[in-house]
Symmetry: C2
Subunit: 415 residues, 2 copies
């Protein structure tokens, strides 16, 4: 340990290898059955098949008249075809009536097409006088009819296991009458910020102390990624206290996050404790910011020690912990961030070759293009560099930098 403190990390692992190793130890959480109304933002734990055809019957896509298409052939505003109005069909109505040659039935959008009809003429293309319908346009057969099963065929797969359910998925499930679905249980998380220098919001600022911002940030991020922080605390740099907190958290948390004290400062107890208590998978990842990250297995829990500087902690969460939470839920897209394409506003050199470098940028729309503007910053402790940015460009380990005008993919911050 002394050596580690003195020389820093013996060796930095690539992010790719770190995640590969970590994910080989991640098991999918059990599923639970919930009501579809409660399913927003949950991760589907089963494939969903449709038990019905959608639409479940041939229905009108317009307000108008159900007719035989051939009765409209040749119709125009100056030479209208003439049909006899013989009835009307509302949405949701059962229909027995059959349509014959020369007849029209008034029909609402969504109502079932009567037997014998082959098209619906929209009301704007007709005129009605004393039960006679004048058609002003010809229709091809099938016009304005939504066919049974046209959207979804019975027994076909409509949503796959691992889908994150958004408003449109909830609507789709409901439209199929699906009431109960299986989703992954929510990963339980404990968050500990460590450091003698930390004081809490609401307290007065003492000399040489700083406010704890990592705990609320991590609570928010865990929530955005689908997990739930069930316990959080701020701990002094006290080795036995930290050790005790690790043991206690392992009783109910699948994921335990510590921040602070992961580097080689002389009060950095976390690596020591982890090497003594847990199975350390990785300590030190070749990325900037965020390199002093430690990943360990302890009993049934995954343990992550993030650097105490907020931006490094933020990036460490986005690249390692967030994807792990989603992996545990069986999510098919473990990195939920949106990627967009933009042009660099200027040259950016890279200071640390061999590391995966994260460049914070702001996105601006300019002359029909999206431009990525690097946010001026000095250190990884500067949270305002996050609130002033929209996302991150990931510069691969052996790329020397970015050129003005170069096309870049920007990963937006999770919202």
């Amino acid at each position: 340990m002394d050596r580690l403190r003195k020389i820093g990390f013996a060796k930095l692992t690539s992010l790719e290898d770190s995640l590969k190793n970590l994910f080989s130890h991640v098991s999918i959480l059990p599923s639970e059955e919930i009501h579809v109304f409660q399913s927003l933002n949950r991760i589907l734990a089963e494939d969903i098949f449709s038990k019905i055809d959608v639409p479940p019957f041939d229905r009108s896509a317009m307000d108008g008249y159900a007719i035989r298409a051939e009765d409209s052939f040749g119709a125009s505003p100056t030479n209208p075809k003439i049909l006899k109005l013989v009835g009307k069909i509302e949405i949701g109505q059962k229909i027995e009536q059959e349509l014959h040659e020369g007849e029209a039935i008034r029909i609402s959008t969504g109502a079932a097409i009567p037997k014998g009809a082959s098209a619906v003429i929209k009301i704007e293309d007709t005129e009605l006088k004393e039960n006679i319908v004048y058609l002003h346009a010809p229709l091809v057969p099938g016009k304005n009819i939504s066919r049974k099963g046209e959207d979804i065929i019975k027994d076909s797969i409509i949503l796959s296991k691992g889908t994150e359910l958004k408003a449109e998925h909830v609507a789709l499930l409901c439209s199929l009458g699906i009431e109960k679905i299986k989703v992954s249980t929510i990963p339980t998380v404990s968050v500990f910020s460590t450091g003698d220098e930390l004081i809490e919001v609401g307290e007065p600022l003492e000399p040489n102390k700083i406010y704890n911002s990592n705990t609320p940030m991590l609570i928010s991020l865990v929530k955005l990624y689908g997990g739930k922080v069930i316990h959080h605390a701020t701990l002094k740099d006290d080795k036995e206290l930290i050790r005790k907190s690790l043991h206690e958290a392992s009783n109910n948390s699948r994921v335990i996050i510590f921040t602070g004290g992961t580097s080689v400062g002389s009060q950095d107890f976390l690596p020591e404790i982890m090497h003594e208590e847990a199975n350390v998978l990785t300590h030190g990842i070749a990325m900037r910011p965020g390199s002093p990250l430690l990943i360990a297995l302890f009993k049934e829990s995954l343990v992550f020690c993030l650097p105490g500087t907020p931006v490094a902690a933020y990036v460490g969460f986005l690249k390692v912990i967030g994807p792990t939470l989603r992996k545990m839920m069986g999510c098919s897209k473990i990195d939920p961030r949106i990627e967009l394409l933009a042009k660099m506003s200027k040259d950016v050199p890279v200071s640390t070759l061999g590391h995966l470098n994260y460049l914070r940028v702001k996105i601006k729309r300019e002359d029909g293009d999206l431009v990525a503007i690097p946010v001026k910053l000095k250190g990884s402790g500067i949270i305002s560099s996050l609130t002033q940015s929209d996302g991150i460009i990931e510069i691969p380990p052996f790329q020397e930098g970015l050129k003005k005008g170069e096309k870049v993919f920007v990963k937006l911050f999770p919202k």
Copy 2:
């Protein structure tokens, strides 16, 4: 009213004019004070000024030794400079000790810089033998020191009124020790799906009926946009029942949403009721899908009648209701959707000139580009066209279509 039913909307209003008129009637909701830990996703109702400098004191950005920069000039691994180790400073510690020429003080990341020191040399660039520190690199003054106020200067504005608070904003507020903040109150919403054809999930499907999917979709969308559905119900096509529901909802809901029956079907009571009871601002907007949208003022509430077809209701929400909710909260960005730039995968003609047309597309990464692929679809009732898409291209009213390879802005669905 008969005329309206027969000929459809007398005149469609442009979306721009509809919103302009609507927004002139929108007033900002009152604010409430909450704890910063509860502030994720809320809208700030005040400008926030920093009461402190950040960092609050000069501090070390590295684990290493605080030194006088000039004592390192000329240092190299083969010709190290030599300093005497005279102490150590931990994070959060108050310091009295002053550093003199020829001395080094061990310092942790985040710890306060001692008087007399002008740089921090990182531990990797040093060697320690029997209280003698060997420097292997020269430093410029200020190296590895984060200056007091370098990130944020006391009394400067750090977040503006109207900001939507995300994880990084929560962290920023906490880092400044701000415990209580003023945010907009959450708009209350009632949702009514109308139609004799609707049955609820969990019930067996009857002939010619369909499952109600609009209510859960709208509950989810309202939540995503920062509002709260406090009441919802499914109503039969019964004019007096709908009228009564409107009156009751106006007692506690700032926004009332009806779906279904907004067009010219013979059971479409909503326009009639609104013209009788409320101040109708707009009925019929020149956009596709979603044109049969009605906007009205009723007592203290804003009333929206959306078409019953789910995709039209979804689009109507994104373009009109969602932005209204955010406008009510004083949000500086009333449309939260992310816009990205992509290339069209193929030609797309536009069928309805004079309307704002919405094209659903899927985004794919292809050869270092983002490509927008139109989702094949037949009608605005097809919810799976939403779950299969990533977003919408908005084609202005008098543009004839899109060309293969053309650069387009895609507005992603809200997540």
